[in-house]
């Protein structure tokens, strides 16, 4: 291995995951922590732990110079950013490059290009990846109606300068356009000083699907199948599964091809995820964005392919060529991940940090728990509320759902409030069991039903 010592600069479960993956490959791991995390699992597992600064992230995990200084001062030759924090900040990747530290992730210029939404869309378009069909500027009601006829109703009419829903409306018929267009463009002129309007196809029944990809930066790219992350609350994923069982095989093949074509066009290096909207009614996929990092939900892809993706990140970062062909990556079985959060699902998901008095996650065949928690661990109040991930695997979705329900029932976490009641409720809901889901399901159906059940 061309990497001998890595600085792990994230926290929580992913830091523990990174430290273990490094050590499994014979790489020494140094864990950088804030003072609030000096007792964390990653700090205990690492060969060495150093305290960066005080608890607030901006004084510790969010300071690129402090991280690179720490890597140099501790003799590390690589840095793993995890997810969140600075993982998609091109400045950290380039600072590593400047100082001879191997950044375990994509090249800085790739991160910068994909981080710009418009540029990312241009890259996708150039690679032949479908985007949500839409128009350029629309002048008036008549041209809006003509464009909508072409795109197919319903359509979303938006102000080009818009934001916050102002100057925006959904039209299901030509009459809706006639009734709403002038009002919306007036609203846009008043709010933004610009009444330029455009139109996109409105996806009423959408699933969030994403493809796990890997490139070696030397021309080779493979995928590890797709994930379905449609159960979300405020754009935060709650359940993630692989594969997307609701998707027909022909469309799945198209999805994988699109993702690979996009990252191949960038000569992509390391792990990435290409996110799409799956328009269930029209059986179409549209590009959303690329996440240039390892993601929270990567374990479900590991479970159905049998590969350790964090170890693979280290191998690619060390300059090893991707020795895998697509044929060597079978997609077998079904996996579901749920996020365990220290938050109160009965009180608007308010965070509930505190000391874990009792930590007894389920164990057994087909059950995996990725977590940094243990008996007596203090969940600090400074960071996000995720305390772990429960991942279950079985031969098919039906068996997997069954296993998930049993595992959640055996999960015991004492001392603080968690979202376990909500996870258990969803796992039993007929819409989840029968896979009748979309990205609005949790907020429109799941949460109101969960709340009503308590009354």
């Amino acid at each position: 291995m061309a990497i001998s010592r890595v600085l792990s600069v994230n926290r929580g479960e992913i830091a523990a995951r990174v430290v273990r993956a490094a050590q499994a490959l014979g790489i020494e791991a140094v864990q950088a922590v804030s003072v609030a995390d000096r007792d964390s699992l990653a700090a205990r597992l690492a060969d060495r732990c150093v305290v960066l600064g005080p608890a607030p992230s901006r004084l510790s995990y969010l300071d690129p110079k402090l991280l690179v200084h720490t890597a140099l001062a501790t003799g590390c030759d690589a840095l793993h950013p995890g997810y969140g924090f600075l993982s998609e900040r091109a400045a950290l990747a380039s600072l590593c490059d400047e100082h001879g530290i191997t950044f375990v992730g994509p090249r800085a210029e790739t991160i910068a290009a994909l981080g710009d939404k418009l540029e990312a869309k241009a890259i996708a378009r150039a690679a032949g990846v479908p985007l949500v069909p839409g128009t350029d500027r629309i002048a008036d009601v008549a041209s809006a109606q003509a464009a909508a006829e072409e795109l197919g109703y319903p359509v979303l009419i938006k102000a080009s300068a818009g934001g916050g829903g102002r100057g925006m409306f959904i039209a299901r018929t030509p009459e809706d356009i006639a009734a709403g267009f002038d009002k919306a463009s007036n609203e846009a002129r008043e709010a933004f000083g610009d009444d330029t309007m455009y139109m996109e196809r409105y996806v009423e029944n959408a699933r969030h699907v994403e493809v796990q990809v890997f490139g070696d930066g030397q021309g080779r790219v493979v995928h590890f199948g797709e994930r379905d992350c449609s159960i979300q609350r405020r754009y935060q994923k709650v359940f993630e599964e692989a594969p997307c069982a609701a998707m027909p095989n022909a469309l799945r093949a198209q999805l994988h091809r699109a993702a690979v074509a996009l990252v191949a066009s960038l000569n992509y290096r390391n792990a990435g995820t290409v996110e799409f909207l799956y328009d269930v009614d029209r059986q179409a996929i549209y590009f959303i964005e690329v996440n240039a990092r390892i993601q929270v939900e990567h374990p479900v892809s590991e479970q159905i392919t049998g590969y350790d993706l964090v170890q693979l990140q280290f191998r690619i970062a060390a300059g090893e060529p991707l020795a895998l062909t697509q044929a060597q990556i079978p997609l077998r079985g079904h996996a579901i991940e749920v996020r365990l959060n220290a938050e109160d699902p009965y009180h608007d998901f308010r965070p509930s940090p505190g000391r874990i008095a009792h930590w007894a996650p389920p164990r057994g065949a087909g059950i995996r728990v990725d977590s940094h928690c243990y008996d007596g661990y203090l969940v600090p109040p400074f960071y996000d509320s995720m305390i772990g991930k429960l991942i279950v695997t079985a031969a098919n979705r039906e068996a997997c759902v069954e296993r998930l329900r049993a595992a959640l029932d055996r999960c015991e976490i004492g001392g603080l409030t968690t979202n376990l009641p909500l996870l258990r409720y969803i796992a039993r809901h007929p819409d989840f069991v029968h896979n009748h889901l979309n990205t609005r399901w949790l907020e429109k159906t799941g949460l109101p039903a969960f709340g009503a059940q308590q009354e």
Partner: protein
């Protein structure tokens, strides 16, 4: 809460104290340094510190450097730095963040402070460097330098003891 003009307590110290309190399982915290006083409580009806504290609920006084407090309740088995204790009656000046410790403003120049030297709260005692950015560290304490714990040119971690100071009476 009042802040006198000669107190060595900075806004950052107050932020740190509040964080320490939030992280702890204490019911309340009462800090007094000179004429600076800080009272924190989880009780919404609390009106102020108990002046005659009953046994077992003694207020936490900021007689030693504040960041030392949380280490008492965390396990030391995995503490990144094993430090010699602070001698009785002495105070510590600690690193504000991880970085490289320099005793002098530039190579070859005399150190900011020597053992035995008298310092004031606003005396600069060393530099901490992060990627060529050199930040001076102020003593924050009035007294006499008794020990230099950190090594010149070496990495220090956040909260690591840099100097031991005998406070002025």
């Amino acid at each position: 809460m009042t802040t006198g003009k000669h107190t060595p307590v900075k806004p950052q110290d107050i932020e740190n104290l509040i964080e320490i309190f939030k992280q702890s399982d204490w019911d309340e915290m009462h800090v007094q340094v000179g004429d600076f006083e800080l009272f924190l409580s989880n009780d919404p009806n609390a009106t102020g510190p108990a002046r005659a504290a009953p046994a077992g609920t003694a207020p936490v006084a900021l007689t030693a450097a504040a960041p030392a407090a949380p280490t008492a309740k965390t396990s030391t088995a995995h503490a990144p730095v094993t430090e010699a204790p602070i001698p009785d009656g002495m105070l510590a000046i600690r690193a504000p963040n991880l970085g490289t410790f320099y005793r002098a403003p530039k190579p070859g120049a005399p150190p900011y402070v020597e053992i035995g030297q008298h310092i004031d709260a606003d005396t600069e005692v060393c530099l901490i460097e992060v990627m060529k950015l050199f930040a001076p560290v102020c003593a924050g304490i009035k007294g006499t330098v008794r020990e230099v714990r950190a090594q010149d040119g070496m990495m220090v971690e956040f909260d690591q003891i840099l100097f031991i100071v005998e406070p002025a009476a």
